[in-house]
């Protein structure tokens, strides 16, 4: 092959049939190419039309359940108790820290900015993010304030990601910890009212704050006095509450031990159950509350016409039922009136009265007082707290229940039942939500007659002036009440134990027309001011109740009378 020939050939022009063939083939080639490119264009359109997914964000549970602010909670006077405040979570996307220089910068500048996070903490998180299988977005700090979040944003480090949330702030702190409970990180109620009123609190913010029946001043007062009582008597725990004796609105309700609203139950707390500081005793704790139940025994006796307050009794020195001896702490040595027997808290008289009334009437009465169901209090824990009393109810149970054994109720149950007795016999249902005083309330079911109610006011006043509750008297406030010192059944010890005592005092004031009901209850409180430790309620719960009443009365605008 010579190049001359090659040259000659390649210079020949395209012509004739061949030219058109070459031309057609060229067009064919161009068409195939154009179609291929068209396919690329179509594929591009297909991709562009697909739903955009947020790149890089490993949709954590927090973002998927992101909610608006939860409704605020205010007390009956409109003071804030729980607030939703906007906060931010600061995370670092470690994939965007691509060089040592950037990692240094992020660690050093964030540590400068965040008062609670050290440079080492940040470096550790960055290192963790570099490990395969770990989340690449590392949490650095939460919550941080919007101002701090803005400052972090202004650092201009792309790896910093800020997620807005609403955090719950509890203005009264520990004082309302059991009452309000808490939410989880997503703002879902987990305990207390936060959980019990989840649906209402999830309503949009336009619904306005949720108003409770609680008065923050009284709540902190009760919490404060109760805390000092627990310290003074070295008690395991305590319950204190103030209730509107007519409407059932809880003005204050505290349980001890308690927790800081920022804390969450640990494994130990969960195992501890009823001894845990997360256990809301007032709403959930079921206790044999002892002699305070004599209120119901005497009320039933009056209601059934079995006794009159002024009727004189000469009770036996000793008494036993079904082989079980019943004794009095302060044996009655001379004839007393029925009212005096109440004031002196005679177990024997209580047992005899109740045996006279009979088990069926007693059980009916207990049911009418609400001891057959949870209280209906809005806290989530109250929902499962159903009083415990046996189904096979013999004479022994009838007798012991007359002075508050063989039946376990929550302090809330007791408060509501006593309020019912004193409220002209009309049933009081406890609530934590404010009632509109102008709105018409549903009619209260009548449990006992107003006459019985008035008699009970008298005998309860007598228990304070002459009986076991003398230390609860507050000058000029006409306090009426009843003590209860109940040994608790300890399965570990195989019976009732002296030291394991719940000492309670339930009081109403002014007792001639009860407006407010106060309940104070201590678990294993001991007054060690004397030579011997004393555990009776008259020395522990009653004086604390007096302190609460004395300090609360001015706030409740109840002035002392001569």
């Amino acid at each position: 092959m010579s190049f001359t020939r090659l040259k000659l050939r390649q210079e020949r022009p395209v012509r004739d049939r061949s030219a058109s063939l070459g031309g057609r083939r060229l067009l064919c080639l161009g068409a195939v190419f154009a179609l291929s490119m068209g396919a690329v264009g179509l594929q591009l359109a297909e991709l562009a039309g697909q739903k955009r997914v947020v790149a890089f964000v490993e949709a954590p549970a927090e973002t998927s359940t992101k909610r608006g602010p939860r409704r605020d909670v205010v007390d009956r006077n409109g003071l804030p108790l729980a607030l939703s405040v906007p906060t931010f979570e600061l995370d670092l996307d470690t994939r965007l820290l691509r060089s040592e220089k950037e990692r240094d910068e992020a660690a050093i500048r964030l540590a400068e900015l965040l008062p609670t996070v050290s440079e080492e903490d940040i470096r550790r998180e960055i290192a963790l993010g570099a490990i395969d299988g770990n989340a690449k977005t590392r949490p650095i700090e939460r919550p941080i304030s919007p101002r701090l979040a803005q400052a972090a944003h202004d650092l201009g480090i792309p790896a910093i990601s800020l997620t807005q949330r609403y955090d719950r702030r509890y203005v009264a702190g520990r004082a309302t910890s059991h009452l309000l409970g808490y939410t989880d990180i997503d703002g879902v109620g987990q305990a207390g009212l936060e959980a019990g009123l989840e649906n209402r609190l999830q309503q949009p913010a336009s619904a306005g704050p949720l108003r409770l029946s609680v008065d923050m001043r009284l709540q902190t007062l009760v919490h404060d006095v109760l805390s000092r009582g627990v310290a003074a008597f070295d008690a395991e725990g305590a319950v204190g509450l103030i209730m509107d004796a007519r409407t059932g609105e809880m003005l204050a309700m505290a349980s001890l031990p308690d927790f800081d609203p920022g804390e969450r139950p640990t494994k130990a707390d969960i195992e501890n159950k009823e001894r845990s500081r997360f256990f809301p005793r007032a709403a959930k704790g079921l206790y044999e509350l002892g002699s305070v139940f004599k209120i119901f025994t005497w009320a039933l006796a009056f209601e059934m016409g079995l006794a009159d307050p002024d009727e004189v009794l000469d009770p036996p020195k000793s008494f036993s039922i079904a082989g079980r001896p019943i004794s009095d702490l302060h044996p009655i040595r001379e004839p007393v009136t029925v009212a005096e027997a109440f004031a002196q808290s005679s177990n024997i008289v209580a047992a005899q009265l109740m045996l006279e009334a009979g088990a069926p009437a007693q059980r009916r009465f207990f049911r009418a007082l609400g001891f057959d169901a949870p209280t209906g209090l809005e806290m989530i824990e109250a929902g499962g707290a159903r009083p415990v009393w046996a189904d096979n109810w013999g004479d022994a149970a009838t007798a012991t229940a007359a002075y508050g054994h063989s039946i376990s109720v929550t302090p809330t149950h007791l408060a509501a039942a006593v309020a019912t007795i004193l409220n002209e016999g009309r049933q009081v249902t406890p609530t934590l939500l404010a009632k509109d005083p102008n709105a018409e309330q549903p009619p209260q079911r009548s449990v006992i007659s107003p006459r019985t109610s008035h008699l009970m006011r008298r005998v309860m006043r007598l228990a304070v002036t002459e009986g076991s509750g003398r230390s609860a008297d507050v000058f000029g406030l006409a306090v009426g009440g009843k003590t209860g010192t109940a040994e608790q059944f300890a399965s570990a010890a195989g019976g009732y134990v002296d030291e394991n005592v719940i000492a309670s005092f339930v009081a109403a004031f002014p007792v001639h027309d009860p407006r407010y009901l106060v309940l104070v209850s201590f678990d294993q409180a001991e007054d060690r001011s004397g030579p011997e430790p004393v555990r009776v309620a008259g020395r522990t719960a009653a004086p604390v109740a007096a302190e609460i009443i004395a300090r609360a009365a001015p706030l409740l605008r109840i002035v002392p009378e001569k």
């Binding site: 083939r25 080639l29 591009l44």
Partner: protein, 420 residues
């Protein structure tokens, strides 16, 4: 025998020529027109300016500008991992543009015979360089000994220069046996196997050297372009079918021998197979871009996308500027190729016609393969996007390709199209 239609005398592309007079207007009419005397008074500069494919040059400049903008977006990630300043690769891309465009403009002045000489020389140089790669080359740990390391300058990939040169040389050889001037005397008219056979031998040599590297992508590219040229040159369909069968067998062998090819192909075809992370990232980037993109510099997938600044820069472009830029690029690349084919339609002489077709397809197919792989119409295959992907050798090779193509698609006197 020749095109005497009015269209041939009044080409749209030769605006302003009318002022020179009837002669000049005719002289620079589209490729196939019968001409009068060449207008000797016209300088070489204005000849070039009047005859060259202006629009394609503008598109090349535009593509390079887009490439520079994208390099600033796509390459900082690579710069970070290589511990250099963030825009190191972007600046290098810009700097390599200078020799590429110098080459492009210079060669576009060449006559077809000068193009041929350059190509033949470059083919031999390229083949030698390719042959010596196994001895002196480096693989930069990227699977394939494709580069010469040039201390201080970077690296050189001979195949990028060989590709266009080889295509032009093959076109020259094919044109010798071209069926387009088949006449009564078979011997004289060059039906003899010399041209086609020689070009096939040359092609096979180059392909073998590329497979040794191994670089199956470039091999496939030059094979397809050669087949297209052979097809246009009037090859019998039976021969073409036989060659296609050979190529198919070769592909199956490659599939069997190279596990990474098998992986890429099966990953592409199998529903629910595990595509490489690179493809997933690219897809994510394009979906994220949507119709109008997330905005300049706001792309995030580019940070994790491997080869974001070279083989997968198309995905970066779409993430930041959306479907809009993607389609614009498809249109621009298509336009260059189709416009070149359209102009070459009028070229009668076999060599410039075939060489032009080959170069236009080389350019267009390379762009097509890159974009089609990115949008996942084709199995993964590394190929640069002309003018846009980072890579000095690639950029200069494209300058060479487009320079020669522009030289061949210039409107010429009929005399020149016949003898050069």
């Amino acid at each position: 025998m020749t095109d005497l239609s009015p269209d041939a005398f009044h080409p749209r592309g030769a605006a302003g020529v009318g002022r020179v007079g009837r002669v000049g207007q005719r002289a620079y009419a589209g490729g196939g027109a019968l001409q009068d005397e060449p207008p000797s008074e016209v300088s070489q500069w204005s000849q070039w300016a009047r005859s060259v494919d202006h629009v394609s040059i503008l598109i090349c400049v535009a593509l390079f500008c887009i490439g520079v903008v994208l390099a600033f977006a796509a390459s900082p990630a690579l710069a970070e991992s290589n511990q250099t300043s963030p825009f190191y690769y972007a600046w290098r891309h810009l700097i390599f543009g200078a020799p590429a465009f110098v080459l492009l403009f210079t060669i576009s002045f060449f006559s077809p015979s000068a193009v041929r000489r350059l190509a033949v020389f470059a083919t031999f140089a390229g083949l030698v360089a390719l042959a010596l790669l196994p001895l002196y080359g480096t693989d930069f740990d990227q699977g394939g000994t494709r580069w010469y390391a040039l201390p201080g300058l970077g690296s050189l990939q001979p195949s990028e220069f060989l590709k266009p040169a080889l295509i032009v040389t093959c076109a020259w050889l094919l044109s010798a046996s071209s069926g387009v001037d088949r006449g009564s005397n078979a011997r004289d008219q060059g039906l003899g196997p010399a041209g086609a056979g020689a070009s096939l031998a040359l092609l096979a040599t180059a392909a073998a050297l590329l497979v040794i590297q191994p670089d199956y992508g470039q091999t496939a590219l030059i094979l397809v372009v050669w087949a297209a040229m052979y097809f246009v040159s009037g090859a019998s369909l039976v021969t073409l079918a036989a060659l296609a069968l050979c190529a198919f067998v070769g592909a199956i062998i490659a599939f069997q021998v190279e596990p990474h090819i098998a992986y890429r192909v099966t990953a592409f075809w199998e529903e629910g197979g595990a595509p490489p992370q690179q493809l997933l990232d690219a897809r994510q980037a394009m979906i994220n871009g949507g119709w109008f993109g997330v905005g300049p510099g706001d792309g995030v997938n580019k940070l994790t996308l491997a080869e974001a600044n070279s083989d997968f820069i198309f995905a970066v472009a779409i993430e930041e500027y959306g479907f809009a830029l993607g389609v614009l690029l498809v249109v621009l690349f298509s336009f260059i190729t189709l416009n070149a084919l359209w102009r070459l339609r009028r070229v009668e002489a076999a060599f410039p016609r075939l060489a032009g077709i080959g170069l236009a397809l080389l350019f267009g197919l390379q762009a097509f393969v890159n974009m089609a792989v990115t949008v996942q119409l084709l199995p993964a295959k590394g190929m640069t996007l002309p003018f846009i992907s980072y890579g000095g050798s690639s950029l200069i090779g494209i300058g060479l390709t487009m320079g020669m193509l522009l030289a061949l698609t210039r409107r010429r006197l009929l005399d020149e199209t016949r003898r050069f």
